[in-house]
Subunit: 526 residues, 2 copies
């Protein structure tokens, strides 16, 4: 595999012997002080301040924060030093956000004052493909080696560690969670966190590592494999230079924790794009595919799939087999849901006669489908209006919270009871497509129809998932917002498309069969 | 193909000779009067009122509206007759929304008073699979035949004809458009219209035809093929009883107008579900696949794909070939966009050297990718802050409308100019994933970054599309709402996922190559 990740004029020399030994990787999350070089009040640079100063201030970073800009001055009540060398205390961790050409000089200062970790935010290095820019990156590595400094980047967003009160983008939550994420792209950190948070997921640590001139994907995989705060590993990787090392790191990580990998640049054009983005040598996709499979990772192809997979791993009780029952509202929606599920290799077997008879006792045959899928539309009216009459002046979500404490409605409890008695049924998927409603959509309507189903999902003893989809217009998106929030609050596995849910659940079952102990270990650790 | 759509105890006899001839299908859209049987003030039945009375009143239906319920009374200022026979004027079109068991009696009254078209909204017929319910449906057909009445349904939503002021769901727009939609499911009418409208599409006529006991998919395809108000045909079909007739109807329709088909129930389970939903005999998917291909239709697999395909057909200037340039913000986002496009069979060939040099003149090498894909991130700051300084007290969308009249910013005009000179480039895709932003998202931020790109797309002379994606959380959805609205207002082909855009554009090119005159004919007719 050497030819696929070959050396391309980049300095990847090992650390030389030196009077200082490089710090362990964990050190980057536990620095005593941070200096932000290139902080500026200029309008176009406001985001440097927002990302690296405001985030730390708002998250309550416990160490010292130092600001550096040759112009001096002050910001947010902190003095701005003209040089790193002017800082009175020890500087452990430096964020460099100045144009690339100025960075070797800053790096030399870092070396001279004994900095341990440097995050080079700046871009315009090897990823441009320009010889002088490659040389510039090599120069950074060379200086860092002299001082045994570890480099994150260049061309990356750096770290996010909510448990250690290191914020990043100011709208990221500061509550920690089980997911460790290594991400070669900075934008994909934002993309991933925002989507994941909307589904109730949280992160232990994130490292955006860009051009990987020093700290690379394998280092980070090794780190997350051992990190006690990380229970699941997610990785967005555009390329690697040492295939053998990556294989070892992936195999070790995946053997200890479920590891989900999104390989950016898996097509010919995507591979060229990856080279242009992070200077990565992307390699042939067939090699990546077998590498990722042999290492025991779970491969996904988009951030949305990544989030779906993490929801499945962390929230779905693993089903034993492929037999699914889909329960929802709407005939066409039920037909299409079935197609999506079966297309992913799941199976909707016909409903046993006695269960159908049981459903017929309290669900009208008109406007329903009492087979598999089950279209429970008549319940929406019956239970919905019952809830509506209990509503009073409360918000619907308040009512649903109260009702949740007492369990689902009588009718939904009967549905759950009948499904539980279905021999060989492995999983129930509760689904609703908001736009399917023949009534003009309103928050009240949405809650009436879907709210009782969400409570049923919450009480369902079989493995289950909730799919709330069809929100591609403003009205349905807004009407459904509180309800999606409630699913997250209840800890339900929430998916936003049936296709996404089907793919993730199928992969979950396959994974659990291939590695029978891994999910059990994960769920015990949470 | 007979065995696939075989008779299953359902009455499909041809019209007998009778003193009255059945009306042409077009009649259903031009009735002089509508009677709604089963109207009720009871709370659970409020949606019958909303769908069939309020919609007609709000849309300004020009004919007479009559209400019927054995209890009598009045509603919305109209008397409620106790029986169809009590109505003083001629009744052309009847909506029946009473429980299935009462419908034969109503149908007899329709026959006796000379009704021409009956829409049976009620369900609980052949789709249940219960022998007595199949018999009930046969009975309806039998009575209708006696009076040469055409039946829409049963188990369906009926018709929507904005041009004739026949509304359906009260939130549907009353502005007509080019799409004729036949839809075996009622819910999928709602699903489709709401998604399509959010993308700027409008409909000529829609017929939800459910169990198709009389008017079926082939009748409707024949109708839409000839209908001068319909320029593109969309169909959601769960099954058919006469394969030969369907093949003829599809072939004819597709030869006259682009015809996009979503076959509901294409998996084994989905096929069973279709039987349970509309009593359809779904048939083997391999047969459907060759039928749909041989007939020259475009096959899609979800409502979302259907809407994407219609956007492509109606809004995208057809590219000659597969060579695409992707222009957007974000490195990882650009890599993933490339993968999605190439995975769909499109190609991002390397940028010619002179065009790269041209871009380098005004786009910083740092934080950009000046190859293909092109990551124009530096422009977001430069142009965004320029627009911001012009904003004053206006809303950003107002500013963008004003700027649009004058053309894009200088920088974006240069991008367009350089791309225009790229030999062999077939199409430009402008894309932005909202969640990729390293800044906390706000409406202002979104408009600053993406607004100038939307104006560039509007001015782009090459075939182009706009992909605005990554909005799976409440903040980004809301922040991007006005901007999506502006794209629609500008008539831009707007897609909400790169995967969806890629699939639709690929199919558009394939379609245009297979049938070189059809898109030209379509675009001339619009």
């Amino acid at each position: 595999m050497h030819a696929l990740w070959e050396f391309r004029g980049l300095n990847t020399a090992a650390y030389p012997n030196s009077q200082r030994t490089p710090p362990p990787l964990d050190y980057m999350f536990h620095s005593r002080s941070v200096a932000i070089v290139g902080i500026s009040a200029d309008l176009p640079k406001i985001w440097i301040r927002r990302l690296y100063l405001d985030s730390l201030l708002e998250s309550g970073y416990p160490g010292q924060i130092y600001l550096v800009n040759p112009k001096g001055g002050e910001m947010a009540g902190l003095p701005i030093y003209r040089s790193l060398k002017d800082i009175p205390g020890a500087v452990d961790y430096v964020v460099i956000s100045v144009p690339a050409s100025y960075t070797p000089k800053i790096m030399e200062e870092c070396r001279d004052i004994g900095v341990k970790v440097v995050h080079v935010f700046a871009s315009g290095y090897a990823e441009t493909g320009e010889p002088d820019r490659i040389e510039l990156q090599n120069r950074l590595v060379e200086i860092a080696r002299q001082g045994n400094i570890r480099i994150i980047g260049p061309n990356c967003l750096g770290i996010y560690y909510p448990g250690g009160r290191i914020g990043l983008i100011p709208d990221f939550p500061m509550e920690p969670g089980p997911i460790g994420f290594l991400c070669q792209s900075g934008g994909n950190v934002a993309y991933m966190v925002r989507h994941a948070v909307a589904r109730g997921l949280r992160f232990s640590k994130i490292v955006s590592y860009g051009n990987a001139c020093d700290i690379n994907e394998s280092d980070l995989l090794d780190y997350f494999a051992e990190d006690p705060e990380t229970k699941v590993i997610a990785a967005y990787i555009e390329g690697a230079r040492d295939g053998r090392r990556l294989m070892e790191a992936l195999t070790k990580a995946a053997s200890l924790k479920p590891t989900v990998v999104l390989k950016g640049g898996y097509t010919a054009g995507g591979s060229r794009a990856a080279a242009s983005h992070t200077g990565s040598l992307a390699g042939a996709d067939v090699v990546w595919d077998s590498l990722l499979m042999q290492a025991g990772t779970i491969r996904v192809y988009s951030i949305e799939e990544m989030v779906d997979m993490l929801v499945a791993l962390l929230r779905v009780k693993p089903p034993h087999g492929f037999n699914i029952c889909a329960v929802g509202n709407g005939g066409g929606a039920s037909v299409m849901a079935t197609d999506e599920l079966e297309q992913a290799g799941l199976r909707l077997v016909p409903i046993p006669g006695e269960i159908r008879e049981g459903l017929k006792e309290f669900i009208d045959l008109a406007n329903s489908m009492l087979r598999n899928p089950i279209d429970v539309s008549p319940l929406a009216t019956v239970v919905g209006f019952e809830y509506l009459s209990d509503l009073g002046s409360r918000r619907f979500t308040e009512l649903l919270r109260e009702k949740a404490a007492k369990g689902p409605s009588v009718q939904w409890a009967r549905v759950n009871g009948l499904l539980k008695d279905w021999p060989g049924l492995d999983m129930v998927i509760f689904h609703h497509g908001f736009d399917v409603s023949p009534m003009p959509l309103s928050e009240l309507m949405v809650n009436c129809i879907v709210g009782p189903m969400v409570l049923a999902a919450r009480a369902c003893e079989l493995p289950h998932a909730v799919v709330l989809h069809s929100m591609a217009n403003d009205n349905t998106w807004q009407s459904s917002a509180e309800l999606r929030g409630l699913c997250v609050e209840f800890g339900l596995p929430l998916f936003l498309s049936m296709r996404g849910a089907a793919a993730a659940i199928r992969k979950l079952i396959d994974y659990n069969r291939a590695y029978p102990d891994r999910l059990a270990t994960l769920h015990m650790s949470l």
